[in-house]
């Protein structure tokens, strides 16, 4: 099985007023297809920075990143955009749905960008909205949905294009614990049934419990990497 994500010796420095902050200090990480992994660690440990670099939203100061066989360092802005569109799904903490589009339209947005034919688009979106538990709510606008339902639409939007990898930044942070559990159930089911690879950045203990791999980041370095909490010191 080929490696889906391979990050090698990644550093990321931020400079302001002559003061340099080392957000990542030589992080190496690989992810296999079908994994359900979470990056954990205290605030400022570099989780979101690493997630952004793997997602092609940000560039490392040094080191290399490969996603689905493509070396991100070699790609220009436009090619990175295409990579994100065709290979990576994003789930954000605050849902980030388009308020003027319905649940169906939000879910099919990336498919439209990809130029998927209308009939195929409709079939896939209907199916995925049913999978996330939103059958019958396709024509509702985000303001007509609860927070948990909005995050389900965001999950549908991320998985509808059948990406190789879904990156989820604190996906359960804005919902109550019960809703968070059901969202986790949903993502786990998508992982198991459809083989969607998930990589989380999270503080949520529920996510840590359900993730099958935990990567602990501390001060910009990988401080631990294992299958469960018991494998990692300091969590």
């Amino acid at each position: 099985m080929s490696t889906l994500v391979k990050a090698t010796d990644i550093t990321k420095d931020y400079g302001q007023d002559g003061v340099v902050t080392h957000a990542l200090r030589g992080v190496s990480l690989s992810l296999q297809p079908g994994e359900f992994a979470a990056m954990v660690g205290p605030s400022g440990s570099g989780k979101s920075t690493l997630l952004n670099i793997i997602g092609g939203l940000d560039r490392p100061t040094s080191g290399t990143v490969e996603v689905d066989g493509q070396r991100l360092n070699d790609l220009g802005k436009s090619a990175l955009g295409e990579l994100r569109r065709d290979h990576i799904g994003f789930i954000f903490q605050s849902y980030n749905l388009l308020p003027v589009l319905t649940a169906r339209e939000n879910a099919e947005y990336v498919l439209r960008l990809q130029g998927v034919p209308a009939a195929e688009r409709r079939r896939r979106v209907t199916e995925v909205l049913a999978e996330v538990g939103l059958a019958g709510m396709e024509d509702r606008f985000p303001r007509q949905l609860s927070g948990g339902q909005q995050q389900r639409v965001a999950i549908a939007r991320a998985v509808a294009p059948e990406p190789a990898l879904v990156l989820a930044d604190e996906p359960t942070a804005n919902v109550d614990s019960k809703t968070g559990q059901s969202l986790l159930d949903l993502m786990l089911r998508l992982n198991q049934d459809k083989g969607v690879t998930f990589l989380f950045s999270t503080h949520d203990p529920a996510v840590m419990q359900r993730a099958r791999r935990l990567i602990l980041l501390k001060d910009g370095e990988v401080a631990g990497d294992g299958e469960g909490l018991e494998d990692i010191d300091g969590v």
Binding site: G81, E82, R84, N96, L98, V100, L101, R112, L113, R157
Partner: protein, 408 residues
């Protein structure tokens, strides 16, 4: 999808969108209304003034404009007149004999300008014929009869039917006296016209100034549409090439009126410019605000694979929608308001307390707009194009958003 997103985004903040499109609409309506009003006012002013004088274009002996004396005149203009009359854009031609003299009665003496006209043609074209307040206008059968202004009549103690003597130097340089009678008295509201101007049949004017039959000091050309002036002017200059004649536009014959209109148009342009600037500032402000408050959304769109160009395209379309709705409203509103003023007019005589004169010419106190498709479409297109141009700055903000910073 981008178009749908843009259209719905326009209505995301309904109140702001309504205020913006209404601002564009009102501003554009005002601009169209004032331009049409100015256009109507100037057109009427020019039309009245040139019809009272020699017309939109004057053909006269070379040097006459600088030194208008009856010694220089068109000896036999009939053939030239027929050629001019054949031009499609020419509505009418008229022969004039214009000279200076002194009008005398037992009550006094006043220096006057005597214009010899063809009464039947003049009655149709000149507004003077419609301003007769006593007696009647001249007819082709009239001999030594004149129509004079109200002020001149008062100065010379003249009433309709009374006699006066015109003393002048004729074309041969001799001092001559001619007796004539008052056929009618006109009142234009202009001190210059009413106090010093008189008209007589052209045959009598030729006799006064000692010109041969058929001669004239000027051949006037009245156009069906003033817009054709430049084209006709060029044709007439070609037609008279090689002859000792000059072809002059009304602006050269009536320079004060031309200057007034130019000055007034200039101040109107400044006013309209300020109005348009305010409209554009409103649009710019709305688009920029709408873009700045959606930076996170644009970052998310680009994060999930939307190209910056597509995001910019969405904002551009939003601007197009705002511009189209606003300009559509403005064009309809402006055309309706100007159309109403064109149809019904607005009588300002009570406001000004009498007649209005500009550069010595009486202006009809009933204000009327003159609406043309060019004004409505031109202004609408100009505001719409300026709106699109102004959107370029917000567009850059939408396309150059920092994804990581915005999503943090």
């Amino acid at each position: 999808m981008i178009a749908r997103l843009a259209w719905r985004s326009v209505w995301r903040n309904r109140r702001r969108t309504l205020i913006t499109v209404l601002s564009i609409g009102f501003g554009l309506s005002f601009a169209i209304f004032f331009i049409a009003m100015g256009h109507g006012m100037y057109t009427k002013m020019i039309s009245d003034a040139v019809r009272m004088q020699a017309g939109h274009i004057t053909i006269e002996p070379r040097g006459y404009l600088e030194a208008p004396a009856v010694e220089s005149y068109l000896k036999s203009p009939a053939e030239l007149r027929a050629a001019v009359q054949r031009l499609a854009a020419v509505q009418r031609t008229k022969l004039l004999v214009l000279g200076q003299g002194i009008a005398r009665t037992g009550s006094g003496t006043v220096g006057v300008a005597l214009m010899g006209v063809e009464p039947s043609a003049e009655a149709i074209t000149s507004p003077l014929a419609r301003r007769i307040i006593k007696g009647r206008y001249l007819s082709d059968r009239d001999g030594p009869w004149v129509v004079i202004g109200k002020t001149l009549a008062e100065r010379l103690g003249l009433r309709v039917g009374m006699k006066l003597v015109i003393t002048t130097n004729n074309a041969a340089g001799e001092l001559v006296d001619e007796l004539c009678r008052v056929r009618g008295i006109f009142a234009t509201g202009s001190e210059e016209i009413d106090g010093y101007f008189m008209q007589a049949p052209i045959a009598f004017a030729r006799r006064v100034f000692g010109l041969p039959a058929g001669a004239a000091t000027q051949l006037g050309v009245i156009l069906a549409s003033p817009d054709d002036q430049e084209a006709v002017l060029a044709k007439l200059r070609r037609l008279t090439a090689g002859q000792d004649l000059e072809v002059e536009p009304w602006q050269k014959i009536l320079p004060q009126l031309a200057s007034y209109i130019k000055l007034d148009e200039g101040s109107n342009y400044v006013f309209q410019g300020i109005l348009i600037f305010l409209i554009l500032f409103t649009i710019f402000n709305t688009i920029l605000m709408s873009v700045m408050e959606r930076q996170r959304e644009f970052a998310m769109l680009q994060a999930i694979g939307t190209r910056p160009g597509q995001v910019m395209g969405q904002v551009f379309l939003e601007t197009c929608f705002l511009g189209l709705i606003g300009c559509g409203l403005g064009m309809l509103g402006g055309a309706a308001a100007a159309g109403a003023l064109q149809h019904w007019g607005l009588d300002l005589s009570s406001f000004y307390g009498g007649d209005i004169t500009i550069s010595g010419f009486a202006v009809d106190p009933r204000l009327r707009a003159l609406l043309t498709p060019g004004i409505v479409l031109g202004m609408g297109a100009a505001v719409f194009a300026a709106t699109l141009l102004l959107s370029l700055i917000p567009l850059r903000h939408a396309g150059r958003v920092n994804i990581v910073d915005q999503l943090r």
